[in-house]
């Protein structure tokens, strides 16, 4: 029976594998360091926020993150001229929050000519229905700007979905003469 053979093969294959005797000690040490790093980062963030968010870019000589291009911590770097941001849409599914920002350009008679949609999902995304729908039984089928993910094309535009981290998923949808690759490549998170 295949199940039996498989279990026997897995047992034999892993028989020699054991953890290092000091694993627990190393993990506890790293976890303690991680906790301090988190506290320090939170403290620094609070200090910087109190000093004013403009202070850092002025001191470092770098441009500030543009609030009109921020979507729940993700910055949209590439935005074609003429697109105007619409009110964000915020949704929640269990512990996952999804923020969707939309930039549009209307042609004559309020006809939608071009648009960029960016959705940022944060939390345990693997538990959401969206994850099941997009990644369900399929495997990766596309790479856009170096990100492996799921890409779909329709007469109305293009769609790309990927998960850069277990608790972060990003969806980009473009319509009209807007390059999906350029939008995806320009995202900073």
């Amino acid at each position: 029976m295949l199940e039996h053979d498989l279990k026997a093969a897995m047992t034999a294959e892993t028989a020699a594998l054991t953890i290092a005797p000091d694993l627990a000690e190393r993990v506890e040490r790293r976890a303690r360091r991680g906790r301090w790093r988190t506290r320090l980062a939170a403290l620094l963030a609070a200090v910087l926020a109190a000093a004013g968010w403009w202070l850092v870019p002025n001191l470092l000589g770098t441009p500030a993150a543009r609030p009109d291009r921020m979507i729940d911590g993700v910055e949209l770097g590439h935005l074609p001229a003429g697109l105007v941001r619409q009110p964000d849409l915020r949704q929640a599914e269990g512990e996952v929050t999804i923020t969707t920002a939309r930039w549009i350009h209307l042609a004559g008679e309020s006809r939608l000519e071009r648009s960029v949609n960016v959705s940022v999902a944060r939390g345990p995304i693997a538990t959401t229905e969206a994850w099941r729908v997009y990644s369900g039984e399929d495997e990766l089928d596309a790479v856009v700007a170096g990100h492996p993910g799921t890409r779909m094309r329709s007469p109305h535009g293009e769609f790309f979905y990927w998960a850069p981290a277990p608790d972060l998923a990003i969806t980009v949808m473009t319509m009209g003469e807007v390059s999906l690759e350029a939008v995806v490549a320009g995202l900073d998170y």
Binding site: L2, E3, D5, L6, K7, A8, A9, M10, A12, E13, T14, L17, T18, I19, L23, A24, E25, R26, V27, E28, R30, A31, G34, R35, P124, A126, T127, W131, R132, S135, G136, E137, E139, L140, V143, P148, A163, P164, A165, P166
Partner: protein
Amino acid sequence: MTGFADFVAARGTALLRTAYLTCGSVHEAEDVLQAALEKACRNWSRIDDRDPEPYVRRIIVNTVISRARRRAILRIIPTGSPPDRPAPADDVVLRQVLMDGLRALPPRQRAVIVLRYWEDLTEAQTAEILGCSTGTVKSQAAKAMARLRTLLGEEVSSAGT
């Protein structure tokens, strides 16, 4: 944190084996296990009154799948032995074919097989860890087993020629 050290001593090796079977690399398995244990260690005060093993196992499996997705590890790993290796016994050949087949499966299917047939979890428990329905677990397991059967069939055919 005595409870944590005891847990690692008691269950660490079993979790390492699960990680290895799910990802196919000893180095990555050790890395994933360490990352999962670190996360568990940071939250130990919240989880040590429950059985922490399912929590750690869930992190391991989902981390492996997530990493594999990111790296797009979907290539079929070549099967067969190097030519200078002595001819292995039949059971060793079977083991090699099955393990090569397991590594060649897409990450989610591989995780389903490891959780169902190595960890002996039920379909419902497997579905809970992977965050999917039991129907998906059934279909993924069926596809994976069909693929392994095909591989075994090919091996038998090539051995007979």
